[in-house]
Symmetry: C2
């Protein structure tokens, strides 16, 4: 994997680049749709390609439990299993072990937990998480880390960060898949000195990219932005920077402004299935009765598959009738919105018009957001 910086914005830390992987090129800043169980819920790989997705995320925790990484490996890896031939990033399983699994027990060795599916007992260690990701054959693997919730004490955050660093060393030690990049994850909660220390330690180990974990986990937005501002200023320019699990469209804009290159979040896909649709002037709830007789598309001028064919009234009907097509058409629209937002940012950064675009973005959003 090789990262090429193409444009650095003049008035902010925003930047454009390209990640060259075994599977192809990823234009950054990039949003990665989440394909938890070997599928971005409701969509085919063809639809993801049509939407312009260059990379998707697979969840190691889920795939480890079902269908199992060895099985996926026998199918030729995750790309082949799910018939997706562009890039895949796999997370380390850390976040899901802490958020989904039952009866988890954290040890120096790793985490013992019970499956949320059938209660079966498992242990994921840094070595296992790395091995599993090598079996899945993703293009970018993540170090196994402990995700801290918010708030935590300084002492807990420090101990946790130090554990994450020790685990990162162990991940790096066993990682030996040449075509797969390995990213380190910076922990330290909202404490800037811990984040900085973590980054310093991870850089000594040396990774292909650096991610920020345990942000957007409940802390005030200002705290998240403060961590972002501190840490992105110190990240090596030559490596991709990944803000994990973030976020709202506004979060993406602010992340890009602080120099983040990669994002993932379930928001566009999960909210689509709950009937919440993104537009440039805010979000709408399609189940709202005001859309019952509405013959206009979700957003006038939107070029997505859904908006070029279907009315709000029809989408509302599908959603109220719990029709499967509802989840799919909504998902297409929301992912189109997210991916186009990134496309716009890439374009305006290259044109050195990012700050102007950012002001316009908020101007479009604000007044109608209130009215909604």
């Amino acid at each position: 994997m090789h990262f090429q910086l193409i444009t650095q914005d003049r008035t902010s830390a925003a930047r454009c680049g390209q990640i060259h992987t075994h599977c192809g090129i990823i234009d950054t800043p990039v949003f990665m749709p989440v394909g938890t169980q070997g599928t971005v819920k409701s969509l085919t790989p063809d639809e993801l390609e049509d939407l312009g997705a260059q990379i998707i995320l697979g969840n190691t925790y889920h795939l480890y439990l079902r269908p199992g990484a060895e099985r996926v490996a026998r199918f030729g890896g995750l790309h082949s299993f799910m018939h997706w031939h562009r890039c895949i990033l796999t997370d380390s399983g850390g976040f899901q072990v802490f958020s989904l699994a039952k009866m988890r027990k954290l040890q120096e060795e790793g985490v013992v937990f019970q499956s949320h599916i059938d209660g079966s007992r498992h242990m994921i260690s840094p070595e296992i998480a790395t091995q599993v990701q090598m079996q899945l054959g993703s293009d970018i693997a993540m170090c196994f880390d402990e995700c801290t919730s918010y708030p935590v004490t300084y002492e807990y955050a420090r101990n946790s960060m130090q554990l994450t660093v020790r685990w990162a060393k162990r991940c790096k030690a066993v990682h030996d898949l040449e075509q797969q990049a390995l990213f380190g994850i910076i922990q330290g909660s909202v404490f800037s000195d811990l984040r900085e220390e973590c980054l310093e330690q991870l850089e000594k180990i040396g990774f292909d990219g650096y991610a920020l974990g345990s942000l957007a986990v409940g802390e005030p937005k200002e705290e998240m932005l403060a961590v972002l501002e501190t840490i992105t200023g110190q990240l090596p320019e030559s490596r991709p920077r990944y803000l994990m699990g973030v976020g709202t469209p506004q979060d993406l804009v602010e992340g890009v402004r602080y120099g983040v290159d990669m994002f993932d979040c379930v928001m566009p896909t999960r909210n689509a299935r709950n009937g919440m649709l993104f537009t440039s002037w805010g979000s709408i709830q399609i189940k709202n009765s005001r859309y019952t007789d509405d013959q206009s598309p979700i957003e006038e001028g939107c070029e997505c598959y859904t908006c070029r064919r279907f009315s709000r009234g029809y989408l509302r009907h599908l959603f109220m009738a719990r029709e499967l097509l509802a989840y799919r058409l909504n998902t297409i629209h929301n992912l189109h919105y997210y991916l186009q937002l990134m496309q716009q940012m890439r374009t305006t950064i290259k044109q050195h018009q990012f700050e102007q675009w950012r002001r316009d973005f908020y101007n479009r959003l604000a007044p109608l957001q209130d009215a909604n």
Copy 2:
């Protein structure tokens, strides 16, 4: 609407034809995928076109209750509402009123019932059913009828058939949408003389096509085939013949053999969502653990979208994980199977090889069906 008979098989009643409608041409014998609530569950209209569907069915009962026929009319009719520009046949609502609605009360005037959705009280009469279908703007509308269950007494069947004839007169009297055909429905349970009398009465009224109702409602297969044999011999050659709600692949083959032109059934779509997949040698349950590591497609050589991309192992994973994509990929495969089956029959009838093809169909099916 105009029906053109193209080929009459030499050794059976099987025949090929074309139904010319306002919306285009339908090659018969034809299978109509069921789009109950203004969507063939999980699929887009584009996918239905790619599958070669020339006509789909919409359920008047469901659309009348939600979103309402007047609303659909304001969207320009069902074609425009759901963005499907090929043909649509709407049923009369009769079958659903008798199978889904609560607290129904049958009167000469019509049927009073409570909605299965919210318990609200409604009345559907022949006039209302016809009016609703004109509002939906389907290409083929059906007369409102009473569906008899199985078994019923001769007396009940006779009274019911006579009511259906009186209702058919009322439907015809109010129907005045030139581009929409109106079909009569032959009732009379398994009693051949009642079926014949019904047909005679309906022909006096005069319809664009004739349907057989209340078959495949639990009667032994031989009884169904006996009715088919009797009645199809007497149906006017110049009108399309529609066997409602039927059936299995074998039912379609037998129906075609007796000269039926049109079929509809939820089986390919509903069974797909339950993981039952059709192949030329029988059906498989994708959740069966034998498919866990199976890298082959559902059916080797199948040209459907699903089989050209995905393995049984992946489809089983999606199904076990209850992923939305499972229902969709399974539906595509099953509809492809049904639509290709009809295509094969149309081809072999034209080549005067239908009986040979039919023997091959059963030869392929039988041995492995037992093994499954």
